[in-house]
Every structure is written in structure tokens, then in C-alpha cells.
């Protein structure tokens, strides 16, 4: 399953809720203001690292959104960068999709 989060983890609880329900083997894609979650030194760094390690969840981020926000050089290790084509692939390769709006 693919989980999409487009909200800043500093402003809203979307990523937190997503992490509560993301199962082993699923993928979390951060887009729009959601990409701040994968930046170093931020509020979600530890939680995402734990998730990747313990629950074997794949964490991806849309690099056009990271680049727009000047954060492309500041991404935590282990996060996969995708462009819009990669976003399409993630959707196609997952059985279903939930957007945590």
C-alpha cells in the first residue's frame, strides 16, 4: 500500500496518523509541504528512521518539491528521491493508495 502525505509535520498531524497505520512493507511518499519531514534535524527525522529500520517501510520524497523549498541537499539517509514519473510508478506498483490530507 502507498501512503501519501503532503502536509508539514511541524504544522499538522497527518504524518503522525499515517505512521500509526502504515504497515510493514508499505511505502510512504512525502510531497508538497510534506517533504519537510525528510529533512535533517527536523521533527520527524527520528520517527522516520525508526520506521524504515523496524517496520521495513520504504520512505520516498518528491524531489521537485524538495528543490522548490531549497531542501534537496538536506535529506536524511535512506530516503528515496522520486520525480513525478516515479510517483506514477509508486502508485502503479501499489495495490492501493491513501492520501493523508
Amino acid at each position: 500500500m502507498l501512503h501519501i502525505v503532503n502536509k508539514s509535520p511541524f504544522e499538522r498531524n497527518s504524518l503522525e496518523s499515517c505512521m500509526r497505520m502504515a504497515q510493514e512493507g508499505s511505502t510512504i511518499l512525502l510531497t508538497e509541504d510534506g517533504v519537510f519531514a525528510v529533512t535533517k534535524g527536523g521533527v520527524s527525522e527520528k520517527a522516520l528512521k525508526n520506521l524504515m529500520a523496524s517496520k521495513k517501510i520504504s520512505v520516498c520524497a518528491l524531489w521537485p518539491d524538495l528543490e522548490a523549498r531549497g531542501m534537496a541537499d538536506n535529506v536524511i539517509d535512506g530516503v528515496k528521491m522520486v520525480d513525478y514519473g516515479g510517483f506514477v510508478d509508486l502508485v502503479a506498483d501499489s495495490a492501493n493508495v491513501q492520501s493523508w490530507l
Binding site: 500500500m1 498531524n13 497527518s14 496518523s17 500509526r20 497505520m21 502504515a22 504497515q23 508499505s26 495495490a95 492501493n96 493508495v97 491513501q98 492520501s99 493523508w100 490530507l101
Partner: protein
């Protein structure tokens, strides 16, 4: 309904995470749910985070000058929409219990809700 729609039964889940009245999402979400009933699909509604407030008993919107749409939840049964699930963790975090809700629901844990979500064909959130 188109030819190629009739006969197909998919699992639809509507995810309600937003409080009523502050924004229109809850009300317009309910409008989609009602329409979905006409398509004979396998429809589930889940309420988590502030979405659980949508089901709170005793909503009175007169003084705020808005439309109280909460009675519609009671009408869902008449449309054969009977699968309403509420996340236990969200309910407890808000100091609410099942008795505070205006319709019968199944309360389940995050983990159970996650299992159910993973089995859906279509997940629609507002």
C-alpha cells in the same frame, strides 16, 4: 450507470479525519457516501483523528448559523451503509467514548484499521 460498471463490486473506504463545521469536508464527504450507495459497492466509513467529532451526539448549530448535517449519519442505515468504524486511539485521545456517538459503530484499534485499509480497492479521503 454504464454497462461496464454494473456487476463490479469494489471495496470503497471513505476516510474521515476532519472535524465538522470548521471546514466543509465532512459534509461534502457524506454527500459522496450517499451517492456511492446507488452503485452497490462494498462501502466502509472510517473515522479517525478529528473525524470522530463528526459523530458526536448533541450537535446544535443554530447559534453558529450553520446547517446541522449530523442527523444524516442516522439515515445511512436506510441506504444500506452499515460499516462505520471508529479508531479507538482517536476516541480516547479526545476524552470520548462510544456512548458519546450518535450512531452505532465498531470501535477498533489503529492496527485493525490499518489491516482493513490495506484490503481496500479504493480509498477516498477529504
Amino acid at each position: 450507470m454504464d454497462e461496464d460498471v454494473s456487476g463490479t463490486v469494489k471495496k470503497f473506504m471513505f476516510v474521515n479525519r476532519k472535524a465538522p463545521y470548521g471546514t466543509i469536508y465532512a459534509l461534502e464527504s457524506l454527500e459522496v457516501v450517499l451517492i456511492s450507495a446507488a452503485f452497490d459497492q462494498d462501502v466502509s466509513l472510517v473515522f479517525c483523528d478529528d473525524g470522530v467529532y463528526q459523530l458526536k451526539k448533541g450537535q446544535q448549530t443554530k447559534a453558529a448559523g450553520m446547517k446541522n448535517f449530523s442527523p444524516t449519519f442516522r439515515a445511512l442505515e436506510g441506504y444500506d451503509i452499515e460499516k462505520l468504524y471508529v479508531e479507538k486511539e482517536s476516541l480516547e485521545a479526545r476524552g470520548l467514548t462510544e456512548d458519546d456517538l450518535l450512531v452505532d459503530v465498531t470501535v477498533m484499534s489503529s492496527a485493525e484499521m490499518a489491516d482493513m485499509m490495506a484490503e481496500q480497492d479504493v480509498v477516498i479521503s477529504f
